[in-house]
């Protein structure tokens, strides 16, 4: 059923997109399918690929003149196959894809090269002609399912519009066809869902609806622009499977745009790596990962958490610093497996970290300085923390249920979970931003929930926060200097001069050039802004920093830099972190202990190594299995 007629797109008109196809054997089948397609197409006029982009050049007109977003990009995609464009934001990957479907933003223009689809050059094709190709022959699955559906229109209407426009349905049979397509996209109770509005559906279901829209007319090419980066990990995998299965059955070729190298390698046969508007490398996925040629691809392979996590255990960071981290930190539920585990031993044989005490090496300073007064007592102890939100006319909503955990001094404890798992609620309760319904939190031996004015003042200085979105968590009206200085002013630390010196010192600590002192957040990149947020958090010399998804808005390479910075600061200043993230790969890079949350409950808590090598709870296993690229088993020795 995967016979693909490359040119006219008539794919079994009466067969429907039924779910009867075999899912398990796609690897081989698809390759075979592609082979066949090429054979069939051979005698045709042009035996070229389905999509062939050559020397593409895209310019955007901005207030500061013309900006070249894509420069000389070339790629080729055969019918029925999958090609992934990988790159960071601003690399031109999305722009290339949008140029192919003729949907560049208003100020963008193709200024050179050609985009051949089925042999027809789409560059310069009038809008009316393009309209017959869009939706009919090229489908688009966009990134964010929350913003890509018309909020005031029913799901069924939005799926049906495509069918009606391209005359694949009539007013009479459109409803039935819509349900059929939605079922094929894996939407349960399709008929009821078709009458609902977007806001009544979960993110995963909305993305399925968008897949239904994109594939309703059985196009020859599907452009999937970061189709899952706005979704939870476990949902991500299901959605990608859905796309893969459906396009396989329809014989649709896929152009996958993603920032995630691991994901790309797992889903596509061929990769194209873009950087600053140029294609820096392209080729079969496996070769690119195992033997990247271009330095940029190499750095990307090295930094991509999903790929690199396997190798870069936490110890890899420790190896770069001399300051030994507290050796035998007590694990939350007994045992010191983490300390004697692989990270310390493998990471840095010669430095004085783990084995210091055991071997009796002549470097006792490490233990003495780092351990400080009360190593045994954890900095934070959370017991039975519960937050209940009453729901009117319904059952109360438990944001967190009986959560208990400890944060040992100088360590990083991570809470991992999907949206709605209660991880952020827990963090906010620790920050005393919301009041728990029951349970207790102690910080350095004092009850946090029962602090008096002076106690709270002290607590607020010793605990700081770094939030997810560096674009909205900094006051746009303040200069960088003023933002970092703010806490110093609030707590009356020193005179104007001293504060200024301290700000410059902090900027140096987070590797921000002092020339940024008078800049505004809008002039900074995402990574620089997050550095500002970190500097601000450090200003009062806190002991604990609560990091709520601090790197999830950043590109991989920047992510890597910020994580290294956090680790470096921890070593230097003896900080403790509570690290909140949905991204297991990132968590693996930074954590000493990992707590896994699901539906408000803590389902697993152990040392990082334990969780990643020997997960006990089925949910943890599912999360781990969802990391893209986890099963690639690629030896990425590129460092």
């Amino acid at each position: 059923m995967s016979a693909v007629n490359g040119t006219d797109g008539e794919i079994g008109m009466n067969g429907g997109i039924g779910m009867d196809g075999g899912i398990g054997m796609d690897g081989v089948n698809r390759a075979a399918g592609r082979q066949r397609t090429e054979d069939e197409r051979a005698p045709r006029v042009e035996a070229g690929p389905l999509l062939h982009i050559e020397d593409l050049q895209v310019d955007f007109t901005t207030m500061h003149g013309s900006v070249r977003a894509v420069e000389g990009a070339s790629l080729s995609l055969a019918a029925g196959s999958t090609l992934a464009i990988v790159g960071e934001s601003g690399s031109g990957k999305s722009t290339t894809a949008m140029a192919a479907i003729g949907l560049l933003a208003g100020n963008g223009r193709v200024t050179g090269g050609s985009i051949r689809f089925n042999g027809q050059d789409l560059v310069g094709l009038p809008e009316a002609g393009m309209r017959h190709i869009r939706g009919r022959q090229i489908g688009l699955v966009p990134q964010d399912p929350m913003s890509n559906l018309n909020p005031v229109s029913r799901i069924g209407t939005q799926v049906g519009e495509t069918l009606l426009t391209h005359r694949l349905a009539t007013r009479r049979d459109v409803d039935a066809k819509v349900v059929e397509v939605m079922e094929a996209a894996g939407i349960p109770e399709a008929e009821r869902r078709s009458r609902q509005y977007p806001h009544e559906l979960s993110g995963g279901l909305r993305q399925r609806a968008l897949i239904a829209v994109a594939l309703a007319c059985r196009p020859q090419l599907l452009i999937a622009d970061e189709p899952t980066s706005a979704l939870d990990v476990t949902v991500q995998q299901v959605i990608l499977d859905q796309i893969e299965q459906m396009t396989h059955q329809l014989g649709t070729a896929v152009l996958l745009i993603t920032h995630d190298l691991g994901l790309a390698a797992e889903r596509a046969q061929d990769l194209v790596v873009m950087h600053r508007g140029k294609v820096v490398e392209s080729g079969p996925a496996a070769r690119l990962l195992e033997d990247p040629q271009h330095p940029y691809t190499r750095s990307l392979v090295k930094a991509a958490p999903s790929v690199a996590a396997v190798r870069l255990a936490p110890g890899a960071f420790a190896a770069t610093h001399q300051g030994g981290r507290p050796g035998g930190h007590p694990a939350p539920d007994g045992g010191t497996t983490g300390a004697s585990g692989p990270p310390a031993a493998a990471g840095s044989g010669s430095t004085a970290s783990g084995p210091a005490g055991a071997a009796g090496a002549p470097v006792p300073t490490a233990a003495a300085t780092a351990s400080g007064p009360a190593v045994d007592e954890p900095l934070v102890t959370i017991t039975g923390l519960t937050k209940v939100y009453p729901v009117r006319g319904g059952e109360d909503f438990h944001a967190t249920k009986d959560v208990s955990l400890e944060i040992p001094r100088g360590t990083t404890v991570s809470i991992v979970g999907e949206s709605g798992s209660g991880k952020t609620t827990t963090a906010r309760m620790l920050l005393k931003l919301i009041t728990p319904t029951s349970g207790s939190i102690t910080f350095d031996g004092r009850d946090v929930l029962d602090l008096d004015r002076a106690g709270l003042r002290d607590f607020r200085q010793r605990v700081q926060a770094v939030f997810q979105d560096p674009y909205s968590s900094l006051n746009p009206m303040f200069t960088v200097g003023r933002i970092i200085e703010e806490p110093l002013v609030a707590y009356k630390r020193g005179g104007a001069r001293q504060r200024r010196d301290r700000v410059l010192e902090l900027m140096e600590q987070v590797a921000l050039p002092s020339s940024m002192f008078r800049r505004y957040p809008a002039e900074l990149s995402g990574g620089q802004r997050q550095r500002v947020a970190i500097a601000r958090a450090l200003a009062l010399q806190p002991e604990l920093i609560v990091c709520d998804e601090p790197v999830s808005a950043l590109d991989v390479l920047v992510q890597d830099q910020i994580l290294r910075l956090l680790r470096h600061l921890q070593d230097e200043l003896g900080l403790s972190y509570l690290f909140i993230s949905h991204d297991l790969a990132v968590v693996r890079l930074i954590s000493d202990y990992v707590c896994v949350m699901k539906d408000g409950e803590l389902v697993e808590a152990a040392t990082s190594e334990e969780v990643f090598t020997n997960p006990r709870h089925p949910y943890t296993r599912r999360l781990l299995a969802s990391i893209p690229g986890n099963e690639l088993q690629i030896d990425t020795d590129v460092a």
């Binding site: 869009r134 966009p142 964010d144 018309n150 229109s153 495509t162 426009t165 806001h199 829209v213």
Partner: protein, 334 residues
């Protein structure tokens, strides 16, 4: 939906009670008290005392309030000090005129404002846009009464295209049932009377509708600019939909949401803003009546008018909220 309406109507009760207390106290705080207001400031102390007794202004204040409330609840807002006719009667005769004028102004503002805003947004940055922005700016900065004078002078006095004042040519012998003159003309078949009444509405309606037009145009422009860059509009284009469908179902339906909100606010303002326009055009509506009431301290009329406006305003806003729910499914649920 019914629950929403019920809830909003219930909310009206405390609003009106609060308002009635304020109005009640205001009358008592008039210089010399209500009796002086009734008799004029040359009244003798004896006359004042007589009036105080007759109207119960000498009783304890709480008692007075309950008497006052009792009257209002039974629909008795007192008599106008000027005409000596009941306030309600006066309103019934004049309010249709104001409503007709307001409706004309609103239709004018919406029918021109939304397309103007859309046109500006589609041509953002070009001369069309700049022209639209300039026009809407002028619409806001020119005072209503001044615009009214200009319009009257140009189109009525100089060009003679339209009548200068009044609601209808007095020479037309029209039958009036509802006091909505245009409507009356339609139902009685006196089309010439209806047409004449309509012509009389044009100049005051345009003068009154200019500010709302400018505001609607600006909000539509901003809203369309935002919505046309929304992800779902791009997705609509990716489906290959026709531009018209995209405009109607994707851009305009979403862009009009904030416009509807302003409509309600504007409509309320129009009714109280009709005062100046009606005065300029000698348009015998509630506005010109109020004008006289203010200058003569005709407090029964003012009290009645303020309560009346409060009720109308609340009802209009309720109407807007209900219609908002009809076009935005997200509001319906919550």
């Amino acid at each position: 939906m019914l629950r929403l309406i019920g809830k909003r109507l219930l909310l009206l009760i405390p609003t009106l009670i609060g308002l009635s207390i304020l109005l009640f106290l205001w009358v008592r705080a008039l210089p010399g008290g209500p009796a002086t207001a009734l008799l004029g400031d040359k009244a003798t102390p004896e006359a004042v005392a007589r009036v105080n007794e007759a109207y119960g202004f000498d009783r304890p204040i709480l008692e007075q309030y309950f008497i006052y409330m009792g009257r209002i609840l039974s629909g008795d807002f007192g008599n106008s000090l000027l005409t000596n006719r009941s306030v309600l009667e006066e309103f019934a005769a004049r309010f249709p005129a104001t409503l007709e004028l307001t409706a004309f102004a609103m239709i004018f503002a919406v029918a021109l404002g939304i397309p103007l805003g859309y046109w500006a947004a589609r041509n953002v940055g070009r001369w069309q846009d700049q022209l639209a922005v300039l026009l809407s700016l002028m619409g806001v900065v020119v005072p209503v009464f001044f615009l009214a004078f200009i319009l009257k002078w140009v189109f009525a006095v100089q060009l003679g295209w339209l009548p200068t004042d009044g609601r209808q040519d007095p020479r037309i012998d029209a039958t009036h049932y509802t006091n909505f003159f245009v409507w009356d003309g339609m139902i009685t078949g006196e089309y010439d009377a209806a047409w004449d009444a309509l012509l009389h509405l044009v100049l005051p309606g345009v003068a009154l509708g200019t500010i709302p037009l400018a505001i609607i145009a600006r909000i539509t422009r901003a809203s369309v600019l935002e919505v046309q860059n929304a992800d779902y509009v791009r997705t609509a284009r990716a489906k290959g939909l026709a531009p018209r469908l995209i405009r109607d179902r994707f851009v305009m339906r979403n862009a009009l949401l904030p416009v509807v909100t302003t409509l309600g606010l504007q409509l309320g303002l129009l009714i109280s803003g009709a005062v100046l326009t009606e005065t300029v055009f000698a348009f015998n509506g509630i506005g010109s009546f109020l004008w006289d009431a203010i200058f003569n301290l005709d407090f029964p009329v003012l009290q009645g008018f303020i309560i009346f406006i409060a009720v109308v305003y609340s009802l209009i806003n309720l109407l807007v909220d209900v219609s908002y729910g009809l076009i935005d499914p997200r509001v319906r649920v919550s």
